[in-house]
Symmetry: D2
Subunit: 380 residues, 4 copies
């Protein structure tokens, strides 16, 4: 937890925002970041309203990201990193501007609204070599990291099957008229081409590749607009092939009435399997071929370095989503401070972001065509 | 539980059999059947060995089903019904012979080895009007029936999504050389065209249609032979459309190492959802749109008539698979005694059987072609 | 499962009975017993009504146990064992009569209504050396036996603490006026000195001693009559010392509203602990000092002989209370057939019965005196 | 979440501390406190080492609480509140000094090492009327507050039974020689008269009274020193009477090998019951008399104001122990800002603290005497 504190600017997170405050709590939790500047809303008044609450000096509250980047660059105590927490459609422009200004970026997922934008971001990352991280929340949980480490170490032998599911129910009714969170997520102009697949399907994809170590090489998607009048999918079910061979299933839904936020992943190998469910996030189930299960808990002495490093409290003292998010921020600080190789490794980065945007595009195409499609974009 | 005791003959169930003894325990549990004759093995010696254990008179132990049907027909106290518990490939011939002799049949699933055979059985059922039931085990559980009744009564509004999964791990290694249960199930000559899909996928299909009240109208299957050298699938993942509209997912696997027998179904509707998992069979989860769950338990006073009738003990006194099976036998007795309309209703019958055999064939075709296919057999 | 079938008579189990039919299903399940005679009710008509349902010859249905014992003794094909399923107050007389007639007895718990009766039964057992078993249901579960075997084998080192709880809620209201099961259980004349402690507390005691291998040597009980007007306790909480040293807690309640039948036991030792809960009876949790848990399931290959012998089905095929009961009956057959040493060992017998009756008496005294009391009856 | 930020000083929390950093994360999470001064260790060097990590100005790091209180009082921007996170034996002196200096105090539990000290603190609170809060962690969980609110609103009728248990296993071995956390907790000079009862039993007591609304009026304790050589109890089991009438059980153990931190409470009433377990803290189980359970989750719309106010994230986004702790800090800010009446109400305060210290003393006496004892101290 050592290391100097970094000065962070935030875009997004104004009054009523959900994910911006999560970024703030997470950034501060381990004392690696201090939020000293913000373009918290496109309304300067609202930006100041929230900034006052957060103790940000009024003269460091801006109406837009570009203004903030420019003004902060001119200060001796200017920001050293940027958090992007706006709706998807503005991610690319803000991120690219920051990277070109030499500012490390930590961006909410999905990376952008379109694949084309994602490719532009990828170019900027490649050209600038400035650290770029994505807050795929679940990658911050200790027991997800334990599963990933154990799979990589061969604990279950070669991977044979992967199932990831992400059921939510909060869009079971057409609430987009009155609920701002629902509004932009169901609007192609702000969310991009993917509805449920873009908002939560990408989490499931990221978890699949993060934990299994395999890559999706083909898919056959079935996207539905269950609630009448929607322009984007609110339910998606996708058959996968990983590394050309391993079968997989990805389900994501925002119309599974009664479900809260139950992302869950199961990875089966030659000699057992792992199961992790967000509903009890400090637990990892390891199944053995003899039908016994070993249940592992965060904080316990038998866990590996990756899980230990992502844990703050002893076993039985639950850490939740804010702490998982904070672990990503802590990693981000490490990446800035000199270990950039953890990006696209334990800390999701540009590769994860780019693959997710391609995945959304391919899933939409596959579903429309009723065809299997390779990750290169060929119909099979 | 009233009603006279019926004289039952059994085919299959010889020494070493798994499902035959389950049929026997189930048939006797509620005192509706007495097993008085058997062709328990193709070896008369083995038939007699098992028959002695079960208290069957030696002169009513036969070397084959046909011999038994003929001999018993000639007795005043001859059998009144037949249980078929052999491997799939012999189901059709035995069943048709029995039906034509006027004997009600209760047959293990899947109904036959091929769709062609299934259609022959269907013709025999249609022509003879003799009761024919299939032991789709999970349809005998009280809480499955409660879910079915509640869905039908509109408890969750219109159904919007169905997910059924059936993971097992016992075929994770190539044990078919030494394990008789594995041997016939992985052999196309005895099992038919489907491996995992034929053995357990049909259970998942039956549960989907039984609980949701919808019918599969299209599918896109991905069948794998994960363990090297297998001639039949040991893992299958299938996208579904039900009633042309509702998305569904069916997963069945016998190579999910560490899994025991975890069949589970989730049905989501406009106003909530149900979840039932075999691992805690006396429990039904009903999710509400407000994110609360109601957990219902077998034997409780608030349950409907269907669940009550399928329960023998007060709440908290677990009933298991044998009792679920016994409920099917009890229903079978009712069907024989004069309420044949429960067949293809609460008691799985010829329609379920025929649909399952068609499903296996379509899934194999769909997977080979990498295409969506309608339940009528057209590629989409 | 081998062995000849034994002819069994039953006392109790008439129309409306709960536990009698459980005995019947259990006795028949493994083909070791055939119920050929019965004094199913003190009304001969009712005895015949139930007997007809069960296929017992009318001339072997009796109005009383004594008549049955005498008449059957005179037959060449007379009963070879007796099941006692009446309310507690009649257990002693029936049991003693049977034992003196040389008939092995399997009796429901608690053994008698009073300690004095229990001591008489114990004398009869000692004098006749005829097998006597008690149906402490939970001792029949495979995973309870696995826990017992593992504790005995030192899997968790020396035992340090034991907690058993048995919450039910069905007597939360004063239903004894209308519910026959509640009526006799709350009536000292029929149930004896113990209410909840006699009906279910003794199960908890038996589980404690059965699994831990230790014996209660002192207790301090707090018995309550929560529902107004009750003559017997309906809630009891008891501090224990086992083997003079090990602390324990026993809770039993019939007024824990909403609870079904949640008996649960936890045994902690120097190097880990076990937990078994009736709500998921095929599962045993073994806790390790490193905070991981190993979850074991009935039917799995890694289990010991005791659990294997108490399992009929593969892992993931739940067996329930009837099967656990059937395991006791199977053991009873073994005890009759020549392995009487399993009595008071894996099969509960006279020692368990006698200790339970003493425990009830001591708990009532301890609670009234508000004092710790030794198992020898001295106040501490 | 509004309100100005308060300047907080901390005593304790130096390098290697467990609970101090938790206080820090919790205090900052909701932006109601900024830690600007500290006497983080009795070694000034260590205080500075930790303070540097936390961004506290070096000149506001002190070697002792008294020095800090005096020096900060002299500053215009001096601290406005004090967090006490040292071992129990120093709580009283620090707290009293702070209160007398007019500084609101938030103190870790148990309040003091002895009852006499607790009474002194109580006098100081009474005399100064300065806000005093205790961090009984579990009182900060949303679903504990929901249970408390529902019980108070009569959701289950009159309370009939309460069971609280707090099993841990981390002191199963005599690690006190090498583990600083174990060292002071097992040392009467630093921990006081209670071992497990003082460290975690008081949490269980607080939960019992907090959720049920009842008060312990008598107890019969059985405290054990399971691990050889201990001077204080490491396992305790206590029979309770609440409001002179309602039976209760309290178990706390630090030698339940394999247990992590499984505090759990069950409250049964006339018309159902509640169960909350720390292992899944965002869940509350409400049992109904019809044997169904309603499962409630934090963040859901149907919850009451108390739970809503203690939740930061939508349902299915787990909050953990740090957030529960933060809720106590948020309440503490409210108490300082003008709603002191929440103290000893939803925010544990002096009354809870005093009762807990008396409880420890009585439990030790009761156990030694093997007697029931009233909360007034009379043997029964």
């Amino acid at each position: 937890m050592a290391g100097r504190r970094l000065r962070l600017g935030m875009v997004g997170g104004g009054p009523g925002a959900f994910i911006g405050p999560v970024h703030r709590m997470a950034a501060r939790l381990d004392d690696r970041f201090e939020i000293v500047a913000g373009a918290l809303s496109r309304s300067l008044d609202k930006s100041r309203e929230q900034g006052a609450r957060w103790g940000i000096d009024e003269d460091r509250l801006y109406a837009g990201a570009e203004a903030m980047i420019a003004a902060e660059a001119a200060r001796a105590d200017g920001i050293e990193a940027l958090a992007v927490t706006t709706p998807n459609a503005s991610h690319a422009a803000i991120t690219i501007a920051a990277l070109r200004a030499g500012l490390p970026v930590i961006c909410d997922k999905p990376m952008t609204a379109t694949l084309a934008e994602a490719e532009e971001v990828a170019r900027a990352v490649a050209e600038t070599s400035v650290p770029f991280a994505l807050t795929y929340t679940y990658a911050g949980y200790a027991m997800v990291r334990e599963a990933r480490a154990r799979v990589a170490a061969g604990a279950i032998g070669g991977v044979r099957k992967v199932v990831a599911e992400y059921p939510q129910g909060w869009l079971s009714e057409a609430i987009e008229g009155s609920n701002p969170q629902a509004s932009w997520r169901t609007d192609p102009a702000r969310a991009g081409a993917g509805g449920a697949i873009g908002d939560i399907g990408v989490h499931a994809l990221q978890m699949i590749e993060y934990v299994s170590g395999l890559r999706v090489t083909a898919l056959c998607a079935d996207l539905s607009r269950v609630v009448a009048g929607r322009a984007l999918d609110d339910d998606c079910n996708i058959l996968l092939r990983l590394d050309d061979r391993v079968p997989g299933v990805l389900m994501a839904s925002q119309v599974s009435a009664g479900e809260r936020n139950g992302i869950r992943i199961r990875v089966y190998g030659e000699r057992g399997g792992f199961e992790w469910a967000h509903e009890v996030p400090d637990r990892l189930i390891q199944r053995a071929p003899d039908n016994s299960q070993q249940i592992l808990f965060a904080g316990a002495p038998g866990l590996g370095e990756a899980a230990q490093a992502a844990t703050r409290l002893p076993p039985g003292h639950p850490e939740g989503l804010i702490e998982a998010f904070a672990t990503l921020y802590r990693d981000f600080a490490h990446a800035i401070d000199g270990t950039p190789d953890i990006l696209d490794g334990r800390l999701p980065g540009i590769t994860d972001g780019l693959r997710a945007m391609r995945f959304i595009e391919l899933a939409v195409r596959s579903s429309a065509a009723r065809r299997w499609i390779s990750f290169d974009g060929e119909e099979l």
